[in-house]
């Protein structure tokens, strides 16, 4: 991960993005406005959080399909604890939760689920695709059980700040995603852990023989992915002031799309966080643009798929790394 390579990966997806923006701002004068800018940023913040976690996983040549369900589960748990705490009727025990307590509980759930994924993958050699596919179903089921299928609503101002507040003229979710991104960049570029992630993705055998504790690194990475999904869950729940049991369905696909458009190779070992961020921006801009132009919902899907394909093709065309 020398810097030049990183800038390069950026550069590639930038082309796609720039092209897209030019086209859109020609088609709609509403597109290139400050407000709309914040809009897009706020809307992609969730996908960015998830996609960053996904990038780490993919760099180890893994994949995490469970993020969408985990997002829903953690959102619901935080909401539930905040609203009702824990009641055990039998031994009529009641535990109330502070805002912070509930939030932490949510995050830990996410990390825990992630760790479980990592454990299944490393200890039992279950292919990541399957382990997390199973978790996708399990976590969704748990969400429905926890919520009984009904949304959990109304937690008041304080919690709402996470999703809707502004700080120094910038929406809070944007701050959150920015922090997530910067941390991830530092980890991948500047820490041994980051190195190990790339090494494992590049050649797991060699990594092992270089004395790297592969299992440990993988479990950490999947836990991070889970925790970041939980962060996404917090933002969504707080924005809606309500935890929806069906939140986050198929978010994993958006995240993976962002990762791949960002030039990260699904076979692992190659890619950057910056690339993923740009991938997420491309998707966000696209969604926003299609609505601004009031494209028919039918056509939207066709266009969206087409653009994703195109973005990657441009990307490949410019990529010297092949």
């Amino acid at each position: 991960m020398t810097l030049n390579r990183q800038h390069f990966a950026k550069f590639q997806s930038l082309i796609a993005l720039v092209v897209l923006c030019i086209v859109l701002s020609c088609l709609s004068d509403k597109f290139l406005t400050v407000d709309n800018g914040w809009n897009v940023m706020r809307q992609i913040s969730v996908n960015i959080c998830i996609a960053v976690g996904m990038t780490l996983v993919v760099l180890t040549s893994g994949i995490d399909l469970s993020v969408g369900s985990v997002l829903a589960l953690c959102g619901a748990i935080t909401a539930g604890l905040m609203k009702n705490g824990i009641e055990v009727h039998s031994s009529n025990l009641y535990i109330g939760f502070t805002l912070l307590g509930a939030i932490l509980a949510g995050l830990f759930t996410g990390a825990g689920v992630g760790a479980f994924n990592g454990f299944a993958i490393t200890r039992f050699k279950v292919p990541p695709f399957v382990a997390t596919l199973a978790m996708l179903t399990i976590a969704r089921g748990l969400t429905l059980l926890w919520t009984q299928g009904f949304p959990i609503s109304v937690f008041g101002e304080k919690f709402g700040y996470i999703g809707t507040g502004w700080f120094l003229g910038i929406p809070v979710p944007v701050w959150i995603s920015a922090i997530v991104v910067l941390t991830a960049v530092v980890i991948t570029m500047k820490t041994p852990l980051g190195r190990y992630i790339y090494a494992i993705g590049g050649n797991e055998n060699a990594a092992k023989l270089s004395g790297i504790n592969v299992s440990k690194v993988k479990i950490i990475v999947y836990s991070m992915a889970g925790a970041l999904a939980a962060v996404g869950g917090l933002i969504v729940t707080s924005r809606l002031d309500s935890a929806q049991p069906n939140a986050g369905i198929s978010y994993e696909l958006d995240a993976i799309a962002a990762v791949v458009i960002g030039g990260t190779s699904l076979s692992g070992g190659k890619g950057t966080i910056w690339g993923t961020v740009l991938g997420a921006v491309i998707i966000g801009v696209l969604n926003n643009g299609l609505v601004l132009l009031n494209v028919s919902p039918f056509w939207q899907q066709v266009v969206k798929g087409g653009v994703i394909l195109l973005a990657v093709i441009i990307d490949k065309a410019n990529s010297k790394s092949e």
């Binding site: 709609s28 509403k30 597109f31 406005t33 407000d35 709309n36 809009n39 706020r42 809307q43 429905l144 009984q148 299928g149 009904f150 949304p151 609503s153 809707t164 969504v236 924005r239 809606l240 002031d241 309500s242 929806q244 049991p245 069906n246 939140a247 369905i249 969604n287 926003n288 609505v291 601004l292 132009l293 009031n294 028919s296 919902p297 039918f298 939207q300």
Partner: protein
């Protein structure tokens, strides 16, 4: 009577189009609860908005020996085969909320007419907008024919008023978050809208939150559909203009009771019962609670 004859209690299946939407969860659970209270073993099947899955559910239910099915179809036409299959196997089917296009298949259909419900909403919308202004429609899942019944009902009225101009029609998949995001984007293109019609309450709440965040909450009139808890509360608080209250509870309980009577030997059921869809507005909201009337 039948009941006493067989040692095992008769079994009643509840097959519902989806459990990803609280309204249907409520419908299914009420039906199941009612049937249970009448002494039947019950089970809920989730068709996940997929008519093929629904077919599997029917086959499995029949194989598992259920005597009656309280049925919320995924599709008026696609579900016909399933109903007929059940009938052929001697299993009575009682449709709830959504219709199947078959007079012979289901023993009885207890329906709430989304279309006419939206016609009323449309009329009220026109009145509130004073026949003019720009409005936005937020659709549900565009592959779901319920989405279109509602949209059509609404437009069957509104489209007669040239003063009312639909500046954007977008889908938010019946999802609250999508409703919020779509509305945010639309507001960029059309800051000057006066009304929003949403295919369900979740999207209406999302749209409202977008408007509130943009400081337009009090200028723009938001309408939903379903009569969900949040929406009722929203109308009380003056956030939502109106919603259409269906009565899942009534439908579910009627269906369950019919099934009970069916087991007890009754056969002549009304082919169709329309459970009226009532419009909930600021005026009458106090008479309602989530998914039903106060009583």
């Amino acid at each position: 009577k039948d009941n006493s004859k067989s040692a095992k209690p008769k079994k009643v299946a509840v097959i519902v189009s989806t459990l990803n939407n609280p309204w249907f969860v409520f419908l299914a659970q009420t039906a199941a609860a009612q049937a249970k209270s009448l002494g039947y073993e019950t089970k809920i099947f989730d068709s996940q908005n997929n008519t093929a899955t629904e077919t599997d559910n029917f086959e499995n239910a029949i194989a598992a020996g259920y005597g009656a099915i309280l049925f919320n179809p995924t599709d008026a036409n696609g579900s016909v085969v399933n109903v007929n299959k059940a009938k052929a196997a001697g299993v009575a089917v009682f449709c709830m909320d959504r219709e199947v296009n078959s007079t012979t298949g289901p023993t009885s259909q207890i329906l709430s007419d989304s279309y006419s419900g939206c016609v009323n909403l449309g009329k009220y919308f026109v009145k509130q907008m004073h026949k003019k202004g720009k409005y936005v429609e937020i659709l549900g899942i565009v592959a779901d024919n319920n989405t279109w019944n509602r949209s059509k009902g609404f437009h069957s009225v509104v489209d007669y008023y040239p003063g009312l101009q639909m500046v954007a029609q977008q889908s938010a998949d019946f999802d609250r978050n999508k409703g919020l995001e779509v509305m945010e984007s639309i507001l960029q293109a059309h800051p000057d809208i006066d009304g929003v019609f949403c295919g369900n309450d979740a999207m209406a709440m999302g749209a409202y939150q977008a408007l509130a965040a943009a400081g337009k909450a009090n200028k723009v009139k938001v309408m939903g559909f379903d009569g969900a808890e949040d929406a009722i509360q929203g109308i009380k608080d003056g956030k939502i203009l109106a919603t259409a209250m269906q009565f899942p509870k009534v439908m579910a309980q009627t269906a369950a009771n019919y099934a009970d009577e069916y087991f007890k030997g009754k056969r002549d059921f009304p082919k169709k019962i329309q459970v009226g869809v009532e419009m909930v507005t600021g005026k009458n909201v106090t008479d309602y609670i989530a998914y039903g009337k106060k009583n």
